[in-house]
Symmetry: C2
Subunit: 269 residues, 2 copies
């Protein structure tokens, strides 16, 4: 299997995202290796040794994705027995021309702290944890969005991802078996209806997830799962609550859809 | 201020990461706009209208970063009154040549569910929540890493980010005032010493964060914060626990350093 390396003087997240996106276009498998914080000549030489070892082991030239600006480190990486892609470089001069401004590359700038985004995100994580799973129904005035859904439909991971990735404050509230006799929007949610976003999931998937947590229980029974999902979906439609089925979506997709449908601002920028 | 648009038929995360990395090289400010799930001609026309409106409003051609493969959607985006960067395209044919394999672009492939990575990550989130803040000290055999540190040094956001982004199971354990008289590694942590990673933080920053939570308390006093930090750092050194000071680092950087120093595998791939 051919090796791919994502390397950087910072987190290497940009190299990873770009390299993965590019390689996902090809119907084949790769060995993925990330080497972050390559900030010294010594670390660059270590990275080179790993890359060259991968060439020997696999018999094929590794693909190396990097964004180094330091000329000494670049020279070492360029001298590897590999195919090297410095994927930002190609775009710098055309963008420079358009902007009429000279690029000023700095080391690991992209995923470091800037513009107070850190505080937003930590605040949002604390908010999500304090308002997880209906644990507090008095803070909804501060929410950017309130996710609702049955147990195990994806509310908690989505709330946390919204907080960590985008600094968006997401509360989440579960509809439980007790609510199901006559499912309505609880009174404490009504003033915040415009912030509510619903999650649902395929019954088969829900049964599976719940069975992993509590095998052979009423909670995980097909009958109970189907009933709960039928009721919440009926409620979403009646109350015109926007919602998505999370079954086939990653947490990145679920949260991107929530941001898009709710017109939410991303505080991360 | 010039507008930048990140658009895609999926989450637009790849476009955002690439565009941000590129624009961060230029010492100027941009208006950032993300348009995700542009999957139809109609949505492409809507995106075009927004892009052209930004041109009118700002008087400057917006920069548009996209990865569309659908030719009809591309034609619409290409016809915008803007500078268009299809940043994957440039690399497809050289990579194709190296691999000797034809690219098979599929719509929104990058950040969707694949290779069972979803389950890993949700399991890891559940693990991080169940083992947050020392709430359970009997599950450490299952941990990939155990973060330790004083209250508010960044343990919880780091644990959650490791889970959501990489599928890594991170427990975290706080050293509190009660531990400080004679700070030692607790007995239940000793068998897992190789999994322990320490966080610390500048005293001034810690005082500030704690004061926001509990103003004028012993917990947030300069004396207490300094003492706790002195003690944990002494412990890290004595026990040879690897650690970092989180003050100047983003959660992306903290977790990338943890993965790198602990040699942890990223389950996301």
């Amino acid at each position: 299997m051919r090796a791919a390396f994502y390397i950087s003087d910072g987190t290497a997240i940009t190299s990873e995202v770009f390299g993965h996106a590019l390689l996902s276009l090809f119907p084949m498998e790769f060995e993925h290796h990330t080497i972050s914080f390559v900030e010294t000549i010594e670390k660059a030489e270590e990275a080179k040794a790993k890359i060259n070892a991968a060439k020997k082991r696999t018999g094929e030239e590794p693909l190396v994705f990097h964004t180094f600006v330091n000329p000494e480190i670049r020279r070492i990486i360029d001298s590897c027995d590999a195919v090297i892609y410095n994927f930002l470089e190609h775009f710098v001069s055309p963008v420079q021309k358009v902007l009429g401004v000279e690029a000023k590359p700095k080391a690991h700038r992209t995923h470091s702290i800037h513009e107070n985004s850190y505080d937003y995100r930590i605040d949002a994580v604390n908010y999500a944890l304090a308002n997880d799973d209906g644990s507090n129904v008095t803070n909804y005035a501060d929410a950017d969005v309130i996710l609702v859904g049955v147990s195990r439909s994806g509310k908690t991971p989505s709330s946390l991802y919204l907080a960590l990735q985008y600094g968006v404050k997401a509360a989440n509230y579960p509809f439980t078996d007790d609510d199901m006799d006559d499912l309505k929007l609880p009174d404490f949610l009504k003033p915040y209806k415009k912030k509510i976003f619903g999650l649902t999931i395929d019954a088969e998937r829900l049964i599976d997830i719940r069975d992993n947590r509590m095998a052979n229980s009423r909670y995980s029974s097909a009958r109970q799962c189907r009933m709960e999902l039928r009721e919440v979906e009926k409620l979403y439609k009646k109350e015109k609550i926007p919602f998505i089925n999370t079954t086939k979506f990653s947490v990145e997709e679920i949260t991107a859809k929530i941001l898009s449908e709710m017109g939410l601002q991303r505080y991360k920028y």
